[in-house]
Symmetry: C2
Subunit: 359 residues, 2 copies
């Protein structure tokens, strides 16, 4: 393998920061008595999943069958698909193939999906460990926690297996929203758990929560495991939400300054390298490492337009800047490979093995 | 080549609509007496560039060296890199290699980039046809039209070749902004052209403008060619700006309904399939073909949350919807291949040959 620093724009990972982020979350989870089942949709990289495994995890979380296939093929044997899949005959075959090599936990939030699973997988349907998705306030997929007993009893009547319940407290992605979202998560999952216990499903119940912003606030008296993803890298969203500091940023997109007008600087890392995410609370389309007052005020496919505060210390054409993307999961999914640095020296390149595995 | 309709989410192209969009723009350009140099960053697909060529184009436009390499390798011999590249030794080598097979026009907006080109390419620098970028109101890269003579004379003094001027009237991407942006484009390019003519560069000057929204409004007395990209597919942005109709949408992302709560429906096409673009004027994160009143009110990586107007005719789990992305250039760049349909029948699959070629 040749190791040459590539042309900009490219994704750079700082190994020491990545390792520290993984270790810190693993330690915190251990102290809190909550297991980790990290969401690997963030990185989609086998090498990083192995680092997470070595630090201590219960299993992995993925969003799609395609991601599950990549990680199971690399030897991971306990994978949760935290998504209410609607199976087709082809997807059912793929799910059955995964069962030969791994424990598969699958999100579900409807009777219809249970019927579909039974019809398409026949006797093997009961080998899938179903995890009921509840809505804790993000209002995406997931049912009301009060309806868990009703759905669970219908699934049990079909001969299906229920392993527990989960939620994604995605409303933690709001300024001052982290603690409140963790409380909502605990209330919703406590209700869901109670409803499952009422049906006699008390043993070994999986009660799964977690997002990176709400991670530190999780209620260990309710959740048994957490599924954070972004914490391995962090990003401008986490920075602006206050769930990480500048030194915890492990991933940047390296971009070259190609044009300068006064305090406006154009860098060659645009939405095709960074992703176009801009949450309502975001102060721009990303941040610049070393320039806390600079803001990306506009983003085209190959141009980030950065405004610097004042006219001093403005970069010049040819300078390379470290751009911190807003939402790192979408950034990684744009790259075929990432470049790994250790204190400035390029030490490795990793394939984004599950890039584009959306189905 | 096996032709099987893939699992959702996937990119679907309707061949007849694509052909009609290409023919309509070619006819309009011919009628207006303006040549077309379509921007292939939108589709990154060889087969579509060949269709554009057959309909009549002067050459192609790309944004990066990597895109230029893909299209030149497929036999295209007049390529404009509409971007103020900052050359490294590696990029200079790659540029020189392209010159062996194609006319290369290159955007420039600084003396520094000219010096860099001269230093790194030596005698071959004068083979690159430089095109000066001017800012017509989008305030991204590009200089003031009034400064064109000054930059041009310095570049000429270095022995470099100037082929003309160009602008991207990106402020056409605003409600009611199309005609005004076309006027700004004409004023800026007329000034730039005048300054170049003053230097004696009157013959065969390339005066290049164009964005899809401003296409129909271009001033043929000023511009010699146009570089629209999105018009081949159109997208929700063009629909909401009024520069296309519903029947002109040639590309959709096919997504399966996985969860329904009242009039809120979750489809498995999220930001990793659609892109996360949401312009200030956008009414949501995309539109749904056949449901003009529905809006994508939230977008996660694998969930589009769609609100339907009223409670009637709400799709059910398992239904497949045609999602029209906001910004199709970023959508295509997420896919390794696209699936081509002719009146409902799958007839081809095309590789997104320049996917991820950002550098």
């Amino acid at each position: 393998m040749t190791l040459t620093v590539p042309e900009t724009p490219y994704v750079a990972i700082e190994l020491g920061t990545l390792q520290a982020n993984i270790a810190r979350a693993a330690d915190a989870a251990r102290s809190a008595g909550i297991a980790l089942r990290p969401h690997v949709k963030t990185h989609k990289i086998i090498e990083i999943a192995r680092m997470q495994e070595a630090a201590g995890v219960l299993g992995l979380t993925v969003a799609t069958l395609g991601e599950a296939e990549v990680f199971v093929a690399s030897g991971f044997t306990d994978v949760m698909i935290a998504y209410p899949l609607w199976l087709t005959p082809v997807k059912a075959q793929r799910l059955a193939a995964l069962l030969d090599h791994s424990t598969i936990r699958l999100g579900i939030d409807s009777v219809a999906a249970g019927k579909r699973l039974s019809e398409l997988l026949g006797g093997r349907a009961s080998h899938v460990e179903l995890v009921i998705e509840v809505d804790s306030g993000h209002h995406r997929s997931g049912i009301s926690p009060d309806s868990v007993a009703e759905l669970a009893s219908q699934l049990l009547n079909m001969g299906l297996q229920i392993a527990g319940c989960f939620t994604f407290p995605g409303h933690s992605y709001a300024l001052d929203g982290r603690a409140a979202a963790a409380r909502d998560e605990a209330v919703a999952l406590a209700t869901a758990r109670q409803q499952l216990e009422f049906l006699g499903l008390a043993d070994m119940l999986m009660v799964s929560g977690g997002s990176t912003p709400s991670l530190a606030e999780a209620d260990a008296s309710v959740v048994t495991e957490q599924r954070p993803g972004v914490y391995v890298f962090n990003d401008a969203q986490q920075l602006e939400l206050g769930s990480c500091g500048w030194d915890d940023i492990a991933l940047t997109v390296q971009g070259t300054v190609v044009s300068v007008r006064g305090n406006r600087v154009i860098v060659d890392a645009g939405s095709k390298a960074l992703g176009a995410d801009k949450a309502p609370y975001a102060t721009g389309y990303g941040r610049i490492q070393g320039f806390p007052d600079a803001r990306i005020v506009a983003l085209s496919e190959h141009h980030a337009t950065i405004e610097f505060a004042g006219e001093k210390n403005i970069p010049v054409v040819g300078d390379v800047l470290s751009v911190i993307p807003n939402h790192v999961c979408n950034t990684v999914n744009l790259a075929d490979e990432v470049f790994v640095f250790d204190r400035g020296a390029l030490v490795d390149r990793w394939k984004v093995a599950a890039r584009g595995k959306n189905s």
